[in-house]
Symmetry: C2
Amino acid sequence: MKLYDCATAPSPRRVRVFMAEKGIEIETLQVDLSSGEQFSEAYKAINPLSEVPLLQLDDGTTISQVNAICRYLEELYPENPLHGRTPLERALVESANNQAMMNGFMAGAEALRNSVPGMKNRAMPGPHNYPQIPALAERGLQRIDNYFSDLDAHFESNQYMVNDYFSVADISILVFIDFAKWVKKRIPEDHKNLARWYAEVGQRPSVKA
Amino acid sequence: MKLYDCATAPSPRRVRVFMAEKGIEIETLQVDLSSGEQFSEAYKAINPLSEVPLLQLDDGTTISQVNAICRYLEELYPENPLHGRTPLERALVESANNQAMMNGFMAGAEALRNSVPGMKNRAMPGPHNYPQIPALAERGLQRIDNYFSDLDAHFESNQYMVNDYFSVADISILVFIDFAKWVKKRIPEDHKNLARWYAEVGQRPSVKA
C-alpha cells in the first residue's frame, strides 16, 4: 500500500495528520504539483483525476478522495477511531466534516484558484480545465469570513467540532485554517473561541504532518 | 425520529430513495422551500442552517447533511447495506459519492442558483446570502456536460458506480441527473452507457420516492 502525496498541499495533509494521529506509517510518494506532475502521462495512468492524495493498494487498486482514504485506513487500523465511537457520533462527525468541505475547503479553493496567475485555467481541481471567475474569488473570501464566524460561535460551547471528541472534522478544520492563509485569511482577533480551539489543536504532534 | 423533508427538492430525495431501498419508514414533515419556510424562525430554531433534509431524534438531537443522515439510518437498519459490504467497497462508494457531490450536485446548484430570478441572493444554500454570479451559472452547465461524459465513460465497463454493486453513489447520480433537468440538461443522445444505466436504475421502485 502506498500514498501519493504532495507535502505542500492541503488535501493530502488531511490524510497525513489522520495517519499521524493513529500512528499509521505507509510508503509515501511525492507528486510535484508545482511543476504539474499530476498531469503527466505517468501519473494520469495511476490517477486519471490528476489529483492527490491517492492510495494505491498492493494489487494496484486505487482509492481517491480524502474521506475515502481516511475511512479505508480507519477500517484497517480501528484503534483510536477518528470517525466517531457511536452511531450518533459518527453521524455528527460526518455532518461536520461535510460542512468543513463545502464551507471551508471549497471556499478556500474558490478564492485561490480563481485569482492566482499560475492557475489561469485551473479554477477547479480534476481533469477538466475551467477559466477563472474573479467574482468567485471574491465570494470565496467572503465565505471564509462567514465560516470563521460560524466556527467561532460553535466553539463558544463546544471543545471540538463534535462535543469533547477530537475527530476527522477537527483535522479538516485545522488544515482548512492553515490553507486559508494562502489567500491571506487569518482567524480574526475577536474570534476568541476559534483561536482557543486552534491553539489547543495546534499543540498536537500530528499537526506537523 | 422524524425527517424534515421537501417533496420537490433533490437533496432530501437522496434520503427518501435510500429509505425506500431499505424499506425504512419514519415520520416525515414537509418544509415548503418554495415559500421560504426554511428561513422561518420556527424552522431555524430546529435547523439554524435553514436546510433540508434534517433528521431529528426523539431526544431532540438533530443530524444535518444527506450523507450523515443516510449513514445514521444504515447503522440503525444494517440490512441491505448501501454504503458497501467490505472495507474496500465502502471506500470506493465513499469516493464515488464524494465525486457525485462535487461534480454533480454542486455543478447543478451553481447552474440553478446563479441564474433563476427567484434565487437572487441565494447563490449558495445555507444561512448566508450571496449574490448570483452569471459566469458561475455558465460554468455549472459546462461542468454538467463534463460529468455526463465522465459518467458515460465509467459505465462503459461498470454496471454501477462501484462494479456490480448498487450503492448510495448510484442513488446520488440518479437524483443528480433528474436535478440537472431543472437547468435543461439531459443525458446526451450519444451517451449510450449512461443512458443504459439510467434506464436500468430507473426501473427500481425506490426512484419514485
